[in-house]
Amino acid sequence: MKVTFKVFRFNAETDYLPHYDTIEMDVKEDEVVLDILNRIKWEHDGSFSYRRSCRHGICGSCAVKVNGRSTLACKERMVDMIELFGNELIIEPVSKKRAVKDMVVDKADFWKKYETVKPWLEAEIDEHPSMENIIPPEEAEKLEEADYCIQCGCCYYACPVVEVNEDYLGPAAFEKAYRFTADVRDHAKKERLEIVDILGQGVWDCVKCYECAEACPKEIDPIGKITKLHNQIFEEGVAKSNVATRHAVGFKRSIKKHGILDEGDLVLYSEGFGVVKHMHEAFEMFKKGKIVLPWNMPKSKNLDEIQKLIKSSSTVKF
């Protein structure tokens, strides 16, 4: 198959702006993206730079983007990329603004945030145990394969919040936090939950776009872990009363009252006095018939059923 590659080129030491090299290649059926990176270096330009190490999808160093899709170069088959995007493919680093040389990026921000959640087990373990520290399989299952993360950064650099909020810890760090908050041997569950509970840097700033789940080459589902962290924050009594937690709780409150959501009341309940900052937009919406006044608020039919289920099925209090 003949494929046209547009390859991102940038050298932070000599270039002011990046450019793209266009290279045509015949791609063989058994080749992966890493084979193409190798051939670009060996056959076209020896200065072309990229990271790679294990070639088995476990070191995470060869992460790149193909047509905007984060991927491990050593794992991703070219035929699959061609099937998804056709015969014109753009190869870029996982983060263009962090590029140092071609596909090589400076991951300092990634590692700094990763360390924030203390990515190690905190437990008082006998240095000379007489037997292994075994946990039951059902407890191990609660990790939900979170320990398979290889820190490749695919989810982190795919996350749109990371791009606009430099404080945001991002999906990889959250996924790692969950790996330990779900581990019965770990003694720092509340401490970790408090780290990820902070507005601005923590889990409440996740936009729920599922880019991380889509990008993860190990299929770990980082946003699933973020949701679990939200749940644990409530279950462990760590949740503080703020706009984000009240927003989540407000849904139950509103559903109990009306079945469907009372959107205006939800904003008022979530924001408290902060609701005044929405007044201008609320007035614009009111003028256009986009606000239902409290006395006109519709209710779901069979509301008593919904209320009964809320009473019997609720598992958390706040």
């Binding site: 919040v161 599922y210 984000a244 606000i291």
Partner: protein, 292 residues
Amino acid sequence: MSKLRYALYTGCTARESTPELLKSTLAVAKKLDIELVLLDEASCCGASHLQDFDDFLSLVLNARNICYAEKRGLDMVTICNTCQLNTAMTKHRLDSNPELKAKVNEKLEEVGLVYKGTSNVRHFLYALIEDYGLDNLRDKVVKPLSELNIAPFYGCHNIRPSELHHHFNRTKENPYNPTSLEELIEALEGNSVDYWHKNKCCGFHVDLQAPKTSNILTGNALADAYDNNADVMVTPCPLCHLNLDVKQKAATKAVGRELKLPVLHLPQLIGLALGCTPEELGLKHHVTEVPA
């Protein structure tokens, strides 16, 4: 083609802050002779926020909503991406986990319901494409949209996680390069605008707790569409619509650009091509005005 019938899960927004979405959906269905049975018993899907607080409760409530479609013997259609995601995710979890399904049914039995798993759950966009068919839709066009450059904005929860959506849709959308909206625009004889942000996030779900993030993401999408000569944007998600339309001033301020781009709901765009009147489509309800 036999008459298409669906149970319509409106979600909350179409009953409140986007009344024009429900109005235009019903108008389009009438034009296409599709019968939509309103699920008036349904509750809110939790919009991914109730799920953060109480996962089991959200499963029970969403399963209850599907029960009412099942009771009518109909597939469910949704008109909100987030409703679609939460309902589909509930269905997928229950259908693939008999133990969880039994736990949820234990609760539903208290109100005389049982979740069986017999109704499919799809967004109206995909029901139209897969069941009605774009060729049939093309035949119904009376006012081609050939004068309009239309920027499709997909919204996250209709395309990601793709693995989940592929269970429910025959259309196997590539989340990195979705094409269904473009194909639909083409069937309406409009010109679709290709722009990078078409499958990106509008930030709606952090609008309260992180307005700066939300405004920048919305502003980036609007600016990108505008820079690619869009006359109008269209979205199948009313939550994206709220950010893109109602918060347009705040969003454009966040990215430092003066922008004014009308943002239509998907049924409104279809309705225009089918000859529905502006009143039938509720075009007066937009904060960023839609030119006559």
